[in-house]
Structure formats: structure tokens, C-alpha cells
Amino acid sequence: MANRLTTFGNDLYTGKRSFNFVGGRKKWYTIAAVLIILSVLVPVVRGFNFGIEFRGGSQFQIAGVANATEQPAIDAVAEVVPGAVARVTIVGEDGVRVQTDQLEQAESRELTTVLADAYGVPESEVTSSFIGASWGADITRQALLGLLAFLLLAAVIMALYFRTWKMSLAAILSLLGDLIVTAGLYAAVGFEVTPAAVIGILTILSYSLYDTVVVFDKIRENTSEDGQESRRTFAESVNLAVNQTLVRSINTSVVAALPVAAILFIGAGVLGADTLRDISLALLIGILVGTWSTVFIAAPLYSQLREGESAIKRHDQKVLKERERAGGSSAEALPVA
């Protein structure tokens, strides 16, 4: 298979085999649009499953339980705070997590003792936390602030580096799409939205843009080095670059996704490792979506943004005309817009 992927890479490099990423853009845009609409609709219909960090409340975690069942915890809560709603979850094999509304200090201490009794563990095995309802919102507000600052800075830096704001725009637009789709898919899976999930989604910023820059750098090389003498239209140059970096894109996403998947599966079954689990789910979705969008959205979008430029238009027409004159196979070039 290694051989096959290598050969595949060769074919892509030489252009012997080529995927029409740029030409088929209407198809990809449609898919992306559908995904984005779904991603917006899912949370609207189902609602985000906000974690305790956003709802506020008290949380108790009991570790090392011999017989992890839900009932003792429900009874314990009913005993200490009659009428309170307890959300009890069994985590892993020997962990129990109990979430209640915000409790008073004294109630919280009492419940700790009762829970320890109910499950027959020493009190030190029961951890309690109290989270104000503003905590999650606070983290998210700061994170959104960070997001905005990052987008602005990244857009400026990319525009300077690539010497065209159009690459910047294409990259940022596809990044925004990634963020929306990742958040939507996350909601669809039904995991709790916790600050850890927010971290994961923010990391997508970093990853998605990173991935886009790698591919765009190749596009920059191809389109600038081909210059006026190129026998390819602009769209074809872009498409070739995407094809040439396709093997890298595949390898990178696999290598980046593997450790993240490992965290996801390990984190899912361990008490208290929710941080790991939520980060990794958001990341796993984001890495796949980010790689996809670089190839299918960012590059075609960039090509489309540039094709309207008069110099490029002239060049493309010249190329197509020459091609027709040379009388190659039927004048079938990549469809331009």
C-alpha cells in the first residue's frame, strides 16, 4: 500500500493522475454549504448540550467505587438536599459523577460525607467542585476575543507573506467554515460543551490555517514560477499544486489524527478525563474537516478570486487559444467559472 500511495503520489505530481479540485468547485461549494447549514441547524434544533461549566452547579466525583451504580448517589442527594435534581453518570468502571444544582457550602460538605458512605469509599476519594454559571461563559468570551484577534492578525500576516490578500481571504473563509462545521458536528455527537471543547475548537484555528498555508505555499510556488510562459491556465496551476501536495495532506491528517484518536478512546473511559475526551473529539472532527476544506474549498476559492483579474484572464485566454491552435485533443480545459 505504501508503494501504491507512493505511485499515486508520483502520478499526482506529474499530473498523470489529477483530481479536478478547482474545476469541480461548484460541487464542493454545494457540499460545504449543505454542511454549514446543517451545522447551524443541528444546535438550533437539538440545542448544545452545555456542560456544568456553563450551567453552573455542584459536581462530585467518586473514584475507586467497587460497585458503580447510580441509585446510591440519587438516594444520597435526596437525603441531603430533598428536591434537588441529581444527574448521575457512571464513568469508566469504577467512577461515579454526580451533578446537582448549586449547593450551599454546608450541604456540599454533607453530601460528600454521605456519598463516601453510600459507596463505601474514604472521603478523600470524593472530590467536589462548585462552578459558577458564568465560568464557562467567561472562558468562551475570552476565547472568542482570542479568535477575533487571531483572525485579524493571521489575515494580515498571510496577506503580507503571500503578497495577496486574496489568499488571506480564501484561507480565512474556509477556516470560518471549518469552525462552524466542527461546532455543528460536535453538537450532533451530543457530547457536553465544556471549556475543553472550546479549546479543541480553537486549536482547529491553528491547525486548519497551518494546513492551508502549507498548500497555499505550493500554489504560490507554482503560480509565480510558471509565470507568463506557463502553458497552464491559472486554475490549472492551482489545481496541480493541490494535487502535488495531496499525498502530504493525506499523510499529515492521518499523522495528526492518530494521537488525537488515541486520546479520544482512552479519555472516553476514564473518570475525570473529560478534558481529554472533549478536546480530542473537537480536534478529530476539526482535523478532518480542516484538511478537507483546504483542498476542496480554500484552493478553489482562491483560484476563483484570482481568475477575474485582467492579467490572469488575458493569460488564460492566451493559453487556451494556443492550445486550440496546437490542435490537441478537443479543446477541453478546466472549466473556468
Binding site: 466525583q61 465560568w135 505555499d217 495528526a256 488515541a262 475525570g272 478546466l334
Partner: protein, 580 residues
């Protein structure tokens, strides 16, 4: 791997490679040295410091309660931190870690469990009150042994009346002193004030407390003016009416309207009591401790009292600061309070490490599969990056107090993939050059030039994201951003100082330069374009569907390659003007 064969005719890439590797060695040895020095002299450690979620402990996050549009200044935060630090220290908790976060929150992290007193102490917000003094006495009470004091107090209190027999008319009225209060005051011992937590009382009731040096105890009346009414407090020299300074330090307070009215009333009452010490004194009470209890020397109706006493410049400044900042209407509320048991911390750490190891193994398998022998370079690079990261984290733990949290570990694991990508980008570029028909040594150099540019520009995006998140974010986002940023920098260092030099050296070996089929750099397998030179005008066999456009693509591609190949033939080995 075999070393370069001939020393005498060492080509420059090899010399460069050796130099880079030497630098890398120097860096690693230096990091080891710094850490060793930390361990020997500065209380450093060979293991990273762990955050509370991995080690177990209590973390309380306090957020300022702000009205809309309000914001906290760093100065106010620092003041809050120092006040909270004093409170925590007073309760005898060691190793408390009090920091500010995100420019507005105060985070208190304490190893182990937190007792009730300390918790209350931390969570109560800095409150400044002005109360009239009813009784004052030296702190040490000769007649009562401190160790016995709780018993008699408790016993006596039940019999003594706790309600005033005559309704007090104002805050200075001695009728506030009920027999129970009198007894509490008599038996009150300033040495136990922190443990007993007695120095809190509702604002409309009397308070028994001590001054902050714990030398005098007071029985104070209800609150007359609250700290929120203080607009400003400064220190300065007392001036006579002619403007000459007396050389005496004083604290000047400015009240707002409400404070002015209230204080004017108090000053009239207390001035009338002049001579009946201590009832002519009023006390500034910050968090239940008397900062200062000056006498009222005149009627002050303009709301600008001047406090004099045995002040030095420093002590007057300190009091002014305490009055000013203690007076701020910013109080903190507990935003979250987390207690993690040591067991839970350990299990989180374990699961993090297991996930990391599994992730690493998967990456190793995949790279070996994809890049064959070249994959070992990736693995070695990851190991070097791992060693440097580990050393940096232990050093930062010692030097900066950085603590590794679960989110930080997630950052590290995610970084494995991101780091490996630099190598992938590089290897793919080298392969591209090989496909263009370059010999391996040239392909490594040319591929590196292109790859470095891509790596630097894309990694700078990662770094930017990490820095922005670190500066703006709060809580666990920070720990994550930090490790992400750190690993990005280390990644770039490793790819420059290790991966590339290793490849330069390996390119000299027969195994790689001959393009052994297991080397991962086999020009045959990579379909070097040389091979196809003669075929370039033939229609290439491709799947029927794609035939038209693909063959066109291939044709164009090979035409150019052929041209280039001819060029390359003309200038053997000197090929510098390369296109991909």
C-alpha cells in the same frame, strides 16, 4: 546509520550538518545543565511540576463583580492578590499559588484539602468599614490562658444576655456592650483570631477584633461609613495653615457625598466625646482587622479628613493604599471551586500518558509504513523534540512555576502530530526533487530550501494562535496554548538542527544515495521523470474517464520536465535554477 566515508573530501553539506548537530548537542547539554543546577541549588526537579488537576488539591477562581462597562486595572488586581495572599498566609497554608489570569481573575491554588476557615477567608471580599471604638485593651489578656479560652467562653455565653438592655441610640452608645459582648471581649485573644474566625460581624452589629499587628483588641460599634464611600486616599506631609510642612506624615482621605454626610455626623459625635478615650476613636477595619484607630481631633464636615499618627512615609503610603483599594467597590465572587483528590489526579495523569504513548506508537507505525527507513529519522526527531520539551517543561516549572495540567498534556499529545508534519512536508519536498530527477544530495538541499520556507510560514501561524490564546484566554485554555506554542518552537529547532542535518548525512550513505527500495527515497519507486523522458509525447494510458484532461495535464508536465532534464544534463550537479 553509516557515517560519511571520506573525511578528507568532506563536502560542505556534511560540514554544515555536523555543525548543526553540534549546536543541537550544545543546546541539549545546556538545558540539562540548567536543570541540574536547578536541582542542586534552586529546588528544581527532574520531573515537571504538575497542576492541581493532576496532583490533587483545591483551586478557587475568583472573578471580580463588575458593573457594565467597568474594568479592573492590573494595579487593582495586584492589590487583590496581595490581600488574598496575606489572608492565605495568615491561615498557615504553605505553597499556595496565587495568580491573576486573563487580566481579571484571581486564581488561588492550594495543594491538598482546604479547611472551612481558609476558604471563608479567601472567598470574603476585601471590605473596608469605619466603626467607632467602644472599648480597647492590650491584646494579651493576663487572666486567661489562650489554650483554655474557648471552654469558659462557650459556657459563659449561654447565661449572659446578648441583647442590649437599653436600645442604643447611636453607634457610639455604650449600651451596645452587652454582658455577652463584654465577656467575649474580655476573653478575646488576638493570637487565635485567625483560627476562631471571630472577627466578622454584620455591619449593623458590634465587632470584636484586633489591630493588624495583633497588639490591641477592640470592641467596635456598628459600621458608620463603608469603604465604598472613600473616593481617594493619599499620603503626604501635614501642612500648617501657612503652608509650611510639619514633617509629620499623614493620610488624606476624600469621601463622596454620602460618606461626607455620614462622617460629618460621626466626627461631631466623637469630637464631643473628646477625652473619653477610647470612645473618641474611630477605627478603619479592613477585612475584620483594624488598620488604624485615630482619635477625632475636630469636627470634619467637608469630607476630607486627615489621619495623623506615628506614620513614616512607608506606613502612611501603605495605609493610603489599603484605604483606597480596600475601598474599591470591586468585590470578588467565587467563579469556580474545584477539589481534586490525589487519586483522581493520578488516574488523569495516567490516562493522559497512556493516550500519548498509544498516539506515538501509531504515528511511528504509520511513518515507517509510509517512509520506510526515512521513518527512523522522523522517530529520532520526535524523540529529540520530546527530550527538549521535557527539559523545557521541568525548567519552566522550576524557574517560572509552570505547572503541567491535563489540558497541557493534551496539547503535548496533539503536538506529536503537528511536529511530525514538518518532517512530512520536508520529505515530500525531497521526494518531489527526486521525481524531477535530481541526485539525492542535490534533492535534499533543494527540497530543504523550499520546505524550510513552508515550515516557517505555516509554523508561524501555529505560534501566532498559541500566543494570542495564551495572552487572551483564561483557565485551561492557557495551559493548552502554552504547550502548543512551546512545542511549535521546539519543532522548528529540531527540524533545522536535527532532521535536516541527519538527512544531509544520510544522503551520503550508499543505502540512501543508491535509492535502496527500503530507503523511502527510491527514485525508481518515486517515478523519477528521467525514466519517462522518451515517452513524453505518447498518449499516456489513463482511465478512460479522465483520459482527455489528464493526458493533457501529463503532456504538459512532461514537456516541461523534459526541458528541465536537458538543462540539468548540460549543467551536471550544478542545478540551481530549479522548478518543482
Amino acid at each position: 546509520m553509516a557515517a560519511p566515508s571520506k573525511r578528507s573530501s568532506r563536502p560542505t553539506p556534511v560540514r554544515k550538518a555536523v555543525r548543526s548537530l553540534t549546536w543541537l548537542g550544545v543546546i541539549i547539554v545546556a538545558l540539562f545543565g540548567i536543570n541540574a543546577a536547578g536541582v542542586i541549588w534552586g529546588g528544581g526537579s527532574w520531573t515537571p511540576k504538575l497542576a492541581l488537576d493532576l496532583e490533587g488539591g483545591t483551586q478557587i477562581i475568583l472573578a471580580p463583580q463588575l458593573a457594565d462597562g467597568e474594568s479592573v486595572s492590573q494595579e487593582q488586581l495586584d492589590q487583590a492578590v496581595s490581600i488574598i495572599r496575606q489572608r492565605v498566609d495568615a491561615s498557615g497554608v504553605s505553597e499556595a499559588d496565587i495568580t491573576t489570569q486573563g487580566g481579571q481573575n484571581v486564581v488561588v491554588a492550594i495543594p491538598g484539602e482546604l479547611d472551612e476557615q481558609t476558604r471563608n477567608r479567601i472567598e470574603s471580599s476585601a471590605k473596608l468599614e469605619l466603626r467607632p471604638v467602644l472599648l480597647a485593651d492590650a491584646a494579651a489578656n493576663q487572666s486567661i490562658d489562650p489554650s483554655e479560652s474557648p471552654e469558659p467562653t462557650d459556657g459563659a455565653e449561654e447565661e449572659l444576655s446578648t441583647t442590649p438592655s437599653v436600645e442604643p441610640t447611636d453607634a457610639s452608645d455604650p449600651n451596645w456592650v452587652t454582658p455577652a459582648l463584654q465577656d467575649e471581649f474580655d476573653t478575646f485573644d488576638c493570637a487565635t483570631i485567625d483560627e476562631s474566625g471571630a472577627n466578622v460581624a454584620p455591619s449593623d452589629e458590634p465587632l470584636v477584633t484586633c489591630d493588624s499587628t495583633r497588639t490591641i483588641k477592640y470592641l467596635l460599634g456598628p459600621v458608620e461609613v463603608s469603604g465604598e464611600d472613600i473616593v481617594d486616599a493619599t499620603n503626604g506631609m501635614v501642612q500648617t495653615q501657612t503652608g509650611a510642612t510639619t514633617g509629620q506624615w499623614a493620610v488624606n482621605i476624600v469621601f463622596n457625598d454620602r460618606g461626607t454626610a455620614a462622617f460629618s455626623e460621626v466626627s461631631q459625635r466623637l469630637f464631643a466625646l473628646n477625652g473619653q478615650t477610647p470612645r473618641d476613636q474611630f477605627a478603619f477595619v479592613l477585612d475584620g482587622a483594624v488598620l488604624s484607630a485615630p482619635q477625632m481631633n475636630g469636627v470634619i464636615t467637608d469630607g476630607r479628613p486627615q489621619v495623623t499618627g506615628n506614620f513614616t512615609q512607608e506606613s502612611s503610603k501603605a495605609l493610603a493604599d489599603q484605604l483606597k483599594f480596600g475601598a474599591l467597590p470591586i468585590s470578588f465572587e467565587v467563579q469556580s471551586s474545584d477539589t481534586i483528590s490525589a487519586t483522581l489526579g493520578t488516574s488523569q495523569l495516567q490516562s493522559g500518558l497512556i493516550a500519548g504513548i498509544i498516539g506515538l506508537i501509531l504515528v511511528v507505525i504509520y511513518t515507517l509504513f509510509q517512509y520506510r527507513a526515512l521513518g527512523t529519522v522522523t522517530i529520532a526527531s520526535l524523540i529529540i523534540a520530546g527530550v527538549i520539551t521535557y527539559l523545557m517543561i521541568t525548567i519552566l516549572g522550576w524557574y517560572q512555576g509552570y505547572r503541567l495540567s491535563l489540558a497541557g498534556i493534551a496539547g503535548l499529545i496533539v503536538a506529536i502530530g503537528f511536529t511530525a508534519d514538518s518532517f512530512i512536508v520536508y520529505f515530500e519536498r525531497v521526494r518531489d526533487e527526486l521525481r524531477d530527477g535530481r541526485p539525492l544530495v542535490g534533492a535534499v538541499e533543494a527540497g530543504w530550501k523550499r520546505a524550510l520556507r513552508t515550515v516557517l510560514s505555516s509554523k508561524s501561524m501555529n505560534l501566532l494562535a498559541a500566543v494570542v490564546l495564551y495572552i487572551l484566554a483564561v483557565g485551561s485554555v492557557r495551559g493548552f496554548a502554552f504547550t502548543l506554542g512551546l512545542t511549535t518552537i521546539i519543532d522548528v529547532i529540531v527540524v533545522i538542527l536535527f532532521t535536516h542535518p541527519m538527512l544531509q548525512l544520510l544522503a551520503q550513505t550508499r543505502f540512501f544515495s543508491s535509492g535502496h527500495s527500503w530507503s523511502g527515497l527510491d527514485p525508481q519507486a518515486l517515478g523519477a521523470v528521467y525514466r519517462g523522458r522518451a515517452e513524453f509525447r505518447k498518449p499516456v494510458a489513463v482511465p478512460a474517464k479522465k483520459a482527455a484532461s489528464s493526458s493533457r495535464e501529463a503532456q504538459k508536465r512532461q514537456t516541461i520536465a523534459e526541458r528541465k532534464a536537458a538543462q540539468a544534463d548540460a549543467t551536471v550537479g550544478a542545478g540551481e535554477s530549479k522548478e518543482s
